[in-house]
Amino acid sequence: MAEFRFPTPLNESDVRQLRVGDAVWLDGIVFGVRDGNLIRVFDRGVAPPCDWRGAALLHTAPNVRKIGPGKYEPVSVGTTTSMRMDRFTEGLLRDYGVRAILGKGGLSQQSAALMQHYGAVYLSVTGGAAAMETLQIEEIEKVYWEDLMPECIWQIRFKGFGPMTVGIDTHGGNLQHEVQAQAQQKTAELLRKMGIG
């Protein structure tokens, strides 16, 4: 398992060298997205008000303190379950050029195939460890769609965000899916042992 540190936005060559299990740190802008704002983009057809070419998108909705008009400081910024946003992967990669999706819990095999095709990765952030993540933030630079609070689009500048674990790479690896598939097999065996065939 190798270690990598990249500035954002990311290049295709950056992400194509990653393998599942690798540790990754990011520096620079990461956009916070989730259910509410992605539903607006893809189901209501409202284009995001920011450039996502090469972007790293984080599944989040932070705790913040308002310090001025449109200006917020972080209180607790963490990561939410990615699978709820699984159906947006194709649009994000194909239409907006996203290179990394950051979240917890993994994405489907369909998303993994799309990532292999378009050249993007899934980076697994440690869920529930928001305190650590919050200290890696330099500034919440901008907030778009404040009416969706807390499900706005958050433009956050990180320094040394990580280590994240590569969950899906561009070589067909999908770590969380593989672990779960093995667990399913093991379960069948366990049930037989417990006399529940």
Binding site: S76, G105, G128, A131, L135, T165, L175, Q176, Q180, T187
Partner: protein, 295 residues
């Protein structure tokens, strides 16, 4: 026993405090269990994840940071001492005010929306939220409030099934194991797996939720059910799901089962999971205004 003047204001302050502190101070039994799991882990990625858990626990306790961004669905388990003369309506209002005050004053993210329009009042309250369960303590002078800010990653992994009597306890075992494995990484493992067996459908799920609030190390008083808890925990930890579902030796910290008698045709089972932080915080309030906080 009459409660002191301003008793409900005190309840409001205590609930405000419970909400904020529960998000920052992970209960000691949970911290111990995470430390033990980290020490016995053999896989590199899992060790990395456990080190993040422990670092965040320390930041919560030492730097008073919120450990997880999810402020949860606020849930209160209230036990009213039978000797106390309490106005239940005023009590409920005070709990709601405490929840809203914590959200406004800290500030906390408001995670609560209306179910269809998804309107957010920015108060962490709304129709029937916070959730308040009431119970009564015999020969008691204490108002006991146990608070859980129930995170959605684990709450979304809730399952119940009306099994039939012919499915027996084998059906229960299969259901629990299959749901935990199906949930995989989503509830932020290692989890506390709460299981309800019996009752009606609604009671069964409430029991599963209540089971997750039991401190680690406690067993069901019925040895047969305690054995079932141990058997299921052992099986779950052989699946290899591990922390964040990235593979590892510890997938659950405990299986807790709560039971109720049921109808002759029924065999209900429910699963409710609690994420690795398993936040909970308790306050005991006496009629004279004395307060003791714990877990």
């Amino acid at each position: 026993m009459e409660v002191r003047a301003n008793f409900y204001d005190l309840v409001e302050s205590v609930c405000c405090d419970l909400y904020i502190k529960s998000l920052k101070e992970i209960p000691p039994d949970i911290v111990d269990a995470i430390q033990r799991a980290a020490a016995t882990e053999t896989k590199e990625v899992a060790k990395r994840i456990f080190s993040h858990y422990l670092e965040s626990i320390a930041l919560g306790r030492e730097k008073k940071m919120i450990v997880c961004q999810d402020t949860g669905i606020p849930i209160y388990w209230v036990e009213i001492g039978g000797n106390l003369r309490i106005d239940g309506a005023q009590l409920g209002d005070a709990i709601v005010r405490g929840t809203e005050r914590a959200t406004r004053e800290h500030p906390l993210r408001s995670s609560i929306v209306s179910p269809i329009k998804r309107e957010n009042r920015q108060t962490n309250s709304g129709e029937r939220i916070p959730i308040i369960h009431y119970d009564f303590g015999r020969d008691s002078d204490v108002l006991d409030i146990l608070f859980m800010p129930k995170g959605s990653g684990s709450e979304n992994m809730s399952f119940m099934k009306m099994l039939i009597p012919a499915d027996g306890v084998k059906g229960v075992k299969r259901f629990v194991l299959e749901q935990v494995v199906g949930a995989g990484p989503k509830p932020c493992p290692p989890t506390i797996v709460g299981v309800g067996i019996g009752g009606s459908s609604d009671l069964c799920m409430t029991l599963a939720k209540k089971a997750t609030a039991r401190p680690l190390g406690t067993r069901h008083p019925d040895p047969e059910i305690a054995a079932l808890e141990a058997e299921l925990l052992d099986a779950i930890n052989q699946t290899g799901i591990g922390p964040q579902g990235l593979g590892g030796n510890t997938t659950a910290l405990a299986v807790h089962i709560e039971t109720a008698w049921t109808h002759i045709t029924c065999n209900p089972v429910a699963v409710n999971m609690q994420c690795w932080r398993a936040e909970r915080r308790r306050a005991k309030i006496w009629a004279d205004g004395r307060v003791e906080e714990g877990y």
